[in-house]
Amino acid sequence: MSLTDEQLERYSRHIILKDVGIEGQEKILNGKVLIIGAGGLGAPIALYLAAAGVGTIGIVDGDLVDRTNLQRQVIHFTPDIGKPKVISAKEKIKEINPDIKVNTYQYLASAENISDLIKGYDFIIDGTDNFAAKFLINDACVMAGKPFSHGGILRFDGQTLTHTPGNACYRCVFKEPPPKDAVPTCSQAGVLGAIAGMLGTIQAAETLKFFIGKGELLVNRLLIFNALDMTFRNVTLKRDLNCPVCGQKPSITALTDYEQAACDLKGQR
């Protein structure tokens, strides 16, 4: 693969970097990423990965753009209200970078479809807003040996970790979803719009680091921030050999859908 003059210009600020260079940019261009959720996290992730030149971007989301999304889901614009989020996202990606191949999946990721969804991708990104999906993505990726980025935001807080095979998974830390209604969702608790950008861009940077193979991923680490205090914390994680999904004797060997709070399913019913 030889980059065109247009590509050398477009990606010049990457290529100049010693840790990216031509080789790293080529790896990014050959990369295939699946973003699950085209909301607060998925929006900046998709925008930055498109701009960075990630060759194939898949987007999974069954929702339509709603006026309440616009405060933080920066890939969707006011005229997009009522449009499928995956279509709205694809249109912006194509405008930023026409070279990107975009695959859209206009439905909710579920135990039934997730293994097929992740199959053709190198790296999976959790940009969902509910625990059921987060555990589903974790379990499916662990079972398929796929690396992924977990991300979650609420109010002024964000957390993210990167999983690669053989290292701590989300379930090593959080054993199972909290009881339904024990934890408020974004729609109940609120979220500062900008923290979606803060966390999503961290996930995008992790994805690019994964492809160029430089630096230290957030593997065996959980990054937590609070934007009110503007404090960032790294919590060291250890793979749990008794983890029900990635442990030595896993008790979870098939994917299941956890029940979600009904308000998470707006537009899905």
Binding site: S2, L8, E9, S12, R13, I15, K18, G21, I22, E23
Partner: protein
Amino acid sequence: MGLDIKKSINLHNISCPMNFVKTKAALAELQQGELLEVLLDEGEAILNVPRSLKDEGHQVINVENLGETFKVIIKKG
């Protein structure tokens, strides 16, 4: 000098940082130890590009002042 130049690029009138980007692209096509000849403008280009290349582990073998431009021989590191 009898140097075995593998590739030669003319970056006259190509400004920073695209001259560096194009040099990196040319070097990417060479094997380690092979030589690249680059024509760079005086001023910013000749000040910055060889320095950046050294930072990335390449060797600047020879610099020849041609007046408006400089002919630089780089060994891929």
